[in-house]
């Protein structure tokens, strides 16, 4: 019985961690936009994610980490890729995302229908070490 209790506690713990990460991201994005560091306002959201990118630790129906850029115009493909690459190059962040149950990174602008998505497990340098 006790392991069930521990599982439930861990589940809630992970949920808190996930929301904390999203909240921290949004807060930092808001502050950088207000202070003039960032020209666009970014917003992180939890989405369903891509089923093809799922891994063993994926959360059910909540495996997508979407970054939405409020740029006021559709972002070009290179801009979307650049934004995604910056996040994917931060190995610590990618590993944290993977361990907290995210499997897909999505980048979208608030206008237009284009977006980009990556499988996080391909960029987490699994089996390697953090430098």
């Amino acid at each position: 019985m006790w392991y069930r209790v521990i599982e439930i506690v861990e589940w809630f713990g992970d949920l808190t961690e996930r929301y904390r990460l999203v909240r921290d991201f949004n807060r930092a994005a808001k502050m950088s936009f207000v202070s003039g560091i960032a020209p666009t306002l970014l917003e992180a959201k939890i989405t369903m994610g891509e089923s093809a990118y799922r891994h063993e630790f994926s959360k059910w129906l909540a495996g997508g980490f979407r970054i939405k850029a409020l740029a006021g115009r559709p972002l070009s493909k290179s801009e979307l890729i650049e934004l995604g690459r910056v996040v994917l190059d931060n190995k610590e962040l990618v590993r944290k995302l993977v361990s907290l149950g995210w499997d897909t990174l999505e980048v979208h602008s608030n206008e237009g229908y284009n977006g980009a998505k990556w499988a996080l497990k391909d960029h987490a340098d699994l089996g390697g070490y953090l430098s």
Partner: protein, 145 residues
């Protein structure tokens, strides 16, 4: 649930103390030893129970604190510096473009600093999206090249 249990314990403590005082006041000369002893016995057990409960909670708190301070839990709870991530997203590209011109090896052909420039340029390419690292490299470029 735990709060209800504690409330009940407190209630019984208050009841027993009332009972013992009532016994003391009504029979001023002859004290009913049996009732008084029972009350003392109950109070003693309740005190032991409360103390052991508090000790248990204290031990759990200390163990959790130690675990979170040193173990993997600490790593898990460690927050990622999102301000740096924002700088990486918005400022790193600009800085990288500025620095790659400054330390491009083609500018140092035939000079002593060629090798150093190549090394720094390589490092620059590896940390294209790391704003803090780029700032460090900027300082190195200013000092060494």
């Amino acid at each position: 649930m735990a709060q209800n249990g504690l409330l009940r314990i407190m209630q019984t403590l208050v009841d027993t103390s009332h009972k013992s005082t009532a016994v003391d006041t009504t029979s001023s000369k002859v004290l009913d030893d049996g009732i008084a002893n029972e009350a003392v016995y109950q109070n003693g057990w309740l005190c032991v129970l409360i103390i052991s409960l508090l000790a248990g909670l204290l031990i759990i708190y200390i163990l959790n604190r130690r675990k979170s301070a040193t173990g993997l839990e600490a790593l898990k709870r460690q927050n990622i510096d999102m301000e740096n991530v924002m700088f990486d997203i918005h400022r790193s590209r600009e800085l990288y473009n500025e620095l790659k011109v400054k330390c491009h090896p083609d500018r140092f052909i035939g000079l002593d600093k060629m090798q150093q420039a190549e090394k720094i340029f390589q490092e620059l390419s590896d940390n294209k999206h790391n704003y803090l690292k780029l700032l460090e490299l900027k300082e190195r470029i200013n000092n060494e090249l």
